[in-house]
Amino acid sequence: MTPHQKETIVIYHHILGVEKTAGDREVRERYLALIREFPPDRHPEEFQRITRAYEALKDGRGRVRARLTGVNDFTFWTDALDALVESIATAPQAPGLDRIIKADNK
């Protein structure tokens, strides 16, 4: 990871949406589910991000590294924060009427 790259391994767990203590199998299953949801032809950037995260976390050593020294993987804390922000999806959703009513009542 070069310093100008804003994505850092500290957030890879969040990109895959797995617990930090997840094992090989869980990480792989989650990765397969995500690439089904974000195939490379329709979501190339998302697919690359997911694949990068998977490559880093697919074995135990990578996961330990991400957990332990991932925080050293960035130069500026704001970059890491931005990367974390980027890991939150903001796709348009079509909520059901019941959820609309609930939100309206709030």
Binding site: I11, H14, T69, V85, P92, A94, D104
Partner: protein, 944 residues
């Protein structure tokens, strides 16, 4: 809190009772007038009280109930505005009762009822009073929407048979199910029979709008939204969708946060959360920052926000430490506000301290203890240990001065890893190799550990031994990687283990036959083999090996192979032949020809072959004429030294030495950067004078930044060649430089330490040129130090200091008779032992040992009282007895030893005598056997 609430409730009750009492004296009409006045003044609660009082006093229900109902509706709105939903709920119940009790339902009252009452209550009242006739078309529309949104479509059956609300009900029932599930396309499809005049028409339009949103179809959305009636609910949703239709984004996210999150996912608020966190960093607001982090964590992972909190704590911890320069209070304060669990807070704090800082941290030993909980799996824990060790190795590699400072934290860390701290007495490279070796022990497959080996030089045999072991482990661990095999071959060649090197290179070739580096090394192995057979004059073997090397067709080796062929030719006749040279090199460019010549001359100059060199000088001159006007790139290709793989092939890697001559004129064609890249090889090959001259010349024409670098190099080389220290000129250059240039100078300084000697070497490592290097501080990294044992140096330095002190202030009088008053002089009667060695130390024994030490020191300095005495032995014994006593008294850490040494020296009147004895002692290694002893002596010196 509960008490306050109770008190307030009592106050309200009293207030109501007082009002009721006041109403008792009034007539119903007067009370009604007052109630109407209350309504007009928005005092709805008082209005309700008053209207109820009128009813109690027998007021006209037909007149009062509609007003009371209106008052309830208005009170409901007021309570909602005050964000009192529970109270509003009560008002709905009470209002519902009044609505049911109304003698007559007017269209106006029905509209009001639909504003706040549940549709089931309204429908029940309508049914009871058979008042469906009051339903105006607009009211029907509102009712239709409410029947769907309140899941009460079944009530439509109560309506008259011809009512559209009833006739369209089956269609809407199917569509409602789709709408609830978010299937807006399905809902729209189901609502095809719903016409424009249907009371459900607005719902169909709404479904169309939602489908358009789903498909991001702004034009349809733009058309659909204005068609929704005034009374259509979901104000926030409609506003956001209208904004999206107009501008493609939301504007009122903060006004309707829940609805916005519904439409875009919770991530819609991420930017505002991020901004909040950033705003709270400067000026630092720990509470605000923690609150923003919690919101952010909930946004990102609503089901387990703690997971995100840890990541945020790590990120922001690093930010706080950087922005506030490791203020010791701020980050723990932030953690306290962010993480509730004390254990978790502590673990995170230790983690950040241990792995995020650019220096060895005192927190690391404590953090290592927590790893068992954090990584219960032994293999993962091993990886964690290895990573931390590598981190420490990286820090030491980056900041070698840590070793000189004898950082106590480093001792504690090594102890935590069960690494004997005696490795700190070794040089930097061996220390780094030991740390990597331990990392590999914890996690044998860790590639980062092997990557770390790349930058560690191994000048001594003991380094190479460790390095060989590590690469052997790596070669076994990564059985498809040729890199460790190549490194092993290099090390084997350095050990002259040619067969082993050949074998491992064959392994590398088997692993990656198409790898260029492997091919080069393999070809080079044949050249090395030929080289070995040259002095033995086994020409057939030389030719065979050189042919094999040539088969690889590697341009980088062509001049080397031709040079060796020529050497073999000339060896056969013992004579240089220009004709043969030109014949063999006729396919080469002038630069290659020159390179080939220079390589040949390097071999010939080694003196191993006894070739008649007549004709070589004229050949060289001829070649020199051919290479005039070379581009800087071509020149660099000629002047750059060979890489260290060629060590077994040539006696020196800087083969272009003859080209420089005595003036280095050729260097003037090089740009400053290229010239600077040649400085170290030139200094290593006795061309310092040429380099200084070239640098001086280049500095005259270079730009300001380059000039500083060139002058720095030049001044450094001058200092190195004359071994001048301290060097204020270098300090001044470093002081004047801006941050970037200073960093570059620091790198240059580090590289120059390779060619410098103590104390300049240490100064280059530390990048400090005007401060005297503290004597005896730590081991001297790398080769090139006078003396093998740093301990000896330290003691010599102590001796020098002592001698200087003696010259300034003569504390001895040679005429005095010491023997007579020895006991009086040396016995430390006034010494406060407890303040120096602690309460648990036996003062009698301590004074005895100090006395023995002083007598022995006197014996060393002034000669023993008895000729059969061995004062040196006594001195060592007394010192060790004293150190043991200190250890028994609870003095354990290096800091405690240092402090005790300092206090003792300050308290004794003859500390200088002890120091002088220490300087004169011959068996120095027997005195200081552990770092604790060394610290004691350092403390003693500073106290003296």
């Amino acid at each position: 809190m509960a008490k306050i609430r109770k008190k307030k409730s009592k106050q309200k009750q009293r207030h109501g009772n007082e009002k009721r009492k006041r109403f008792q004296s009034l007539t119903p009409d007067a009370i009604r007038d007052q109630a109407t006045a209350f309504l007009a003044a928005s005092r709805y609660r008082d209005a309700i009280l008053a209207f109820r009082e009128v009813l109690k006093k027998g007021g006209d229900k037909d007149l009062i109930l509609p007003d009371l109902f209106r008052a309830y509706r208005l009170r409901h709105g007021q309570l909602l505005a005050k964000k009192m939903p529970r109270e509003a709920e009560t008002v709905i119940n009470l209002g519902g009762q009044v609505f049911e009790a109304l003698p007559r339902i007017t269209p106006e009252l029905l509209e009001q009822a639909l504003d706040f009452l549940p549709v089931r209550t309204v429908m029940a009242a309508l049914k009871e009073k058979a008042a469906f006739a009051v339903l105006a078309p607009e009211t029907e529309k509102r009712l239709g929407i409410l029947l769907v949104t309140e899941d009460a479509l079944d009530l439509a059956e109560d309506l008259p048979e011809d009512a559209r609300l009833r006739t369209d009900r089956p269609v809407m029932a199917a569509a409602a199910a789709n709408m609830m599930a978010g299937d807006w396309q399905g809902a729209l499809h189901a609502m095809r029979p719903i016409g424009r005049i249907s009371p459900y028409a607005d719902l169909k339009t709404f479904a169309r709008a939602m489908k358009a949103w789903e498909q991001q179809d702004r034009s349809t959305l733009k058309k659909a939204l204005p068609r929704l009636g005034e009374n259509f609910p979901f104000k926030g949703l409609r506003a956001l969708l209208a904004e999206y239709a107009d501008r493609g984004s939301f504007k009122s996210v903060d006004i309707y946060p829940d609805t916005a999150a519904l439409l875009m996912g919770p991530g819609i608020h991420k930017l505002s959360c991020r901004d909040r966190i950033q705003q709270h960093m400067k000026p630092l607001n720990l509470n605000g920052m923690a609150a923003a982090c919690r919101d952010f964590a909930r946004l990102l992972k609503p089901e387990s926000p703690d997971d995100v909190l840890e990541t945020l704590a790590e990120i922001i911890g690093k930010g706080i430490n950087k922005a506030y320069e490791d203020d010791p209070v701020l980050f723990p304060g932030f953690l306290e506000r962010l993480i509730h669990s004390h254990a978790e807070r502590k673990r995170l704090f230790l983690k950040i301290e241990s792995v995020c800082k650019d220096f060895v941290s005192h927190a690391t030993p404590d953090y290592l203890k927590t790893l068992k909980t954090e990584f219960p799996d032994a293999k993962e824990r091993g990886t964690a240990y290895a990573l931390i060790l590598l981190k420490i190795a990286g820090i030491i590699k980056q900041h070698p001065h840590i070793l000189y400072d004898y950082d106590e934290d480093l001792f504690d860390i090594l102890a935590a890893f069960s690494i004997p701290d005696s490795i700190l007495e070794n040089d930097l490279n061996l220390l780094l190799l030991t740390l990597v070796r331990h990392a590999v022990k914890h996690d044998p497959g860790n590639r980062l550990a092997f990557d770390m080996l790349q930058g560690i030089s191994a000048p001594l045999a003991e380094h190479r031994k460790v390095l060989t072991n590590l690469y052997e482990t790596m070669a076994a661990q990564f059985d498809d990687d040729p890199a460790p095999c190549l490194e092993l071959a290099r090390l084997y060649y350095l050990k002259n283990a040619f067969r082993k090197a050949q074998a491992i290179l064959q392994t590398a070739y088997d692993r990656a036959p198409h790898d260029v580096r492997v091919k080069e090394s393999r070809a080079l192995a044949f050249v090395i083999s030929a080289q070995k057979n040259l002095p033995k004059e086994k020409w057939h073997l030389v030719d065979r090996d050189l042919d094999r090397a040539a088969e690889f067709c590697l341009p980088i080796l062509s001049t080397v192979i031709t040079g060796k062929r020529l050497l073999a030719e000339f060896l056969k006749t013992r004579k240089f032949s220009a004709k043969t040279f030109h014949e063999q090199t006729k396919g080469f460019t002038p630069v290659q020809q020159m390179q080939c010549y220079l390589l040949l001359q390097t071999d010939v100059d080694s003196g191993d072959y006894g070739i008649d060199t007549r004709g070589m000088a004229s050949c060289f001159k001829g070649l020199q004429k051919q290479i005039t006007g070379l581009s800087p790139r071509e020149l660099m290709a000629l002047l750059s030294p060979l890489d260290d793989r060629f060590t077994p092939v040539y006696p020196t890697l800087f083969y272009a030495r003859p080209l420089l001559g005595t003036t280095g004129k050729i260097l003037s064609a090089l740009p400053p950067e290229d010239l600077m890249s040649l400085v170290i090889p030139m200094a290593q090959n006795q061309c310092t004078d040429v380099a200084i001259r070239a640098l001086k010349k280049k500095a005259k024409t270079a730009g300001p930044d380059h000039r500083t670098l060139l002058v720095f190099y030049q001044t450094a080389l001058e200092a190195i060649s004359a071994n001048i220290f301290p060097c204020p000129e270098l300090a001044a250059l470093a002081g004047k430089a801006g941050p970037d240039l200073r960093e570059r100078l620091r790198q240059i300084s580090r590289s120059l330490s390779e060619v410098a000697f103590y104390p300049l070497k240490e100064a280059f490592d530390r990048f400090e040129f005007d401060r005297p290097v503290p004597p005896g501080y730590g081991p001297r990294p790398g080769p090139g130090y006078p003396g093998d044992d740093p301990l000896n140096e330290m003691i010599s330095d102590l001796y020098d200091i002592m001698m200087n002190a003696m010259n300034e202030d003569s504390w001895t009088d040679p005429e005095e008779d010491w023997e007579e008053d020895q006991e009086d002089w040396f016995y430390p009667r006034e010494l406060d032992v407890a303040s120096i060695f602690g309460n648990t130390c036996d003062p009698g024994m301590a004074k005895e040992f100090i006395f023995d030490l002083a007598v022995a020191a006197d014996g060393i300095v002034n000669g023993p009282a008895d000729p059969w005495e061995n004062p040196e032995e006594n001195f060592i014994a007394a010192l060790h007895a004293l150190l043991d006593l200190m250890h028994q008294s609870g003095i354990r850490t290096t800091g405690q030893y240092r402090e005790a040494g300092r206090k003792l020296a300050a308290a004794l009147s003859y500390s200088q005598l002890v120091l002088e004895a220490l300087g004169r002692i011959t068996s120095k290694a027997a005195i200081i056997t552990t770092p604790e002893h060394q610290h004691f002596m350092l403390g003693f010196r500073s106290g003296a």
